[in-house]
């Protein structure tokens, strides 16, 4: 196996009351889809933000693409990673303005990729609509389009289908798979839907109370988890 894209060691992050995240060791490999699951408040979003390299851990190290990360991270490195946030904030202007924003920052003025990204999410009809009166689900799809158009090698998704109906969930899952196939995009997705993790991911990681409990290849994670707490979580037992 090649060197991991992300190598996390002894990672600790706190927001004031104890550790929000304590991960002793985690590797994320290239061209893979990793699903992070766990109950609310288990540190999933914190982990995603640290992987985005926008926030520094309080302790521990992150290696990205074979190099130790030092903060603040240069914008050229940050631009290799794009994140869709759990609660996307859109800019004033139209939907197309929002999707074009990232490419314009990089000096790419051609609107066609943005149009294609909207089309892939069945949102072409909203291209010239104002971004603000959009519903939660529409905003989420705009945020996904805004990330897709950048074609970054790493895509971080924080519950990107939380407000979507089943048809749109399938569209986004299909896009995530095709990105891996066509561009080799490494995708890390936080999800509450275990079935989605099973459908989509190559590997699954379970976080409980900020700790990494289990991380394994998807079939093994669901069928033969090593940790009894992972088995309990999968059974739906609330043991914490």
């Amino acid at each position: 196996m090649t060197d991991p894209l992300f190598r996390l060691r002894g990672l600790r992050k706190s927001y004031g009351r104890g550790w929000s995240l304590r991960i002793d060791s985690l590797d994320v490999h290239r061209d893979q889809i990793l699903a992070i699951v766990g109950p609310t408040g288990s540190g999933k979003s914190t982990l995603l933000r640290l992987l985005h390299l926008l926030e520094a851990p309080d302790e521990g190290t992150i290696e990205f693409d074979g190099r130790p990360v030092t903060y603040p991270v240069p914008v050229e490195v940050l631009r290799r990673i794009t994140m869709v946030f759990q609660r996307p904030v859109l800019l004033r202007g139209t939907v197309l303005d929002n999707v074009r924003y990232g490419p314009l920052l990089r000096g790419r003025r051609d609107p066609e990729p943005a149009r294609r990204a909207l089309e892939s999410l069945a949102m072409s009809h909203l291209a010239h609509a104002r971004a603000f009166p959009l519903s939660g689900g529409e905003s989420q799809r705009v945020a996904v389009a805004r990330a897709l158009v950048l074609a970054s090698p790493v895509l971080l998704l924080d519950e990107p289908t939380a407000h979507l109906d089943p048809a749109h969930i399938l569209v986004i899952e299909r896009i995530i798979r095709s990105l891996r196939e066509s561009r080799g995009t490494t995708t890390i997705i936080v999800t509450h839907h275990l079935l989605q993790a099973r459908r989509l991911a190559d590997r699954v990681a379970l976080l409980l109370e900020g700790r990494l409990i289990e991380e394994a290849e998807t079939a093994r994670f669901f069928d033969h988890p090593d940790d009894p707490r992972a088995s309990a979580f999968l059974r739906g037992d609330l043991v914490w």
Partner: protein, 198 residues
Amino acid sequence: MAVSAALGIPLGLLLARARFFGRGLVVAIVYTGMGFPPVVVGLAVYLLLSRSGPLGFLGWLFTPTAMVVAQVVISLPVIAGLTMAAAEAVDPELALQLRSLGANPAQESRALLREVQPGVLAALLAGFGAIISEVGAAMLVGGNIDGQTRVLSTAIVLETRRGEFGLALALGGALLTLAFIVNAFLLRFQVAPRRLGG
């Protein structure tokens, strides 16, 4: 107006974004200043600039400079307070999401300013309204001297007292037209298509 904008917009943005010792006091002063009766401001500036006052040596009383000082004191809190409210209304997550989309610090600041822009324009309009409609302070510190410190609002008061209602009404019309032109000019920035990126 230019002085108030140059000071008030950065102050409002700073109060919205930064957390520092004494911020609460500054915010309270700004909010109090937004409701100051202009005539009281005029009185305070008059006392400061009068010959026996601490700034009397400047010789500014009954000059246009004194009127500018009073109008800055009146409009600065309005512009700073409304700019702060507009900046605080911008989602705090936006900055993080802009960085996630690849914005460098300069691009991030520009995008955030663009998001605050309608609120800043409203603040400028309110500040302009406070200045142009103001009479008491202008009278007190300017003296309403013909050809020197007489402005439209003080001239209207004078002509009304003289019983020259026609002239007062005409001056009122000129004042309204001026206000309309300035407001229309500023509103153009609010509705003009925005260019994103860069």
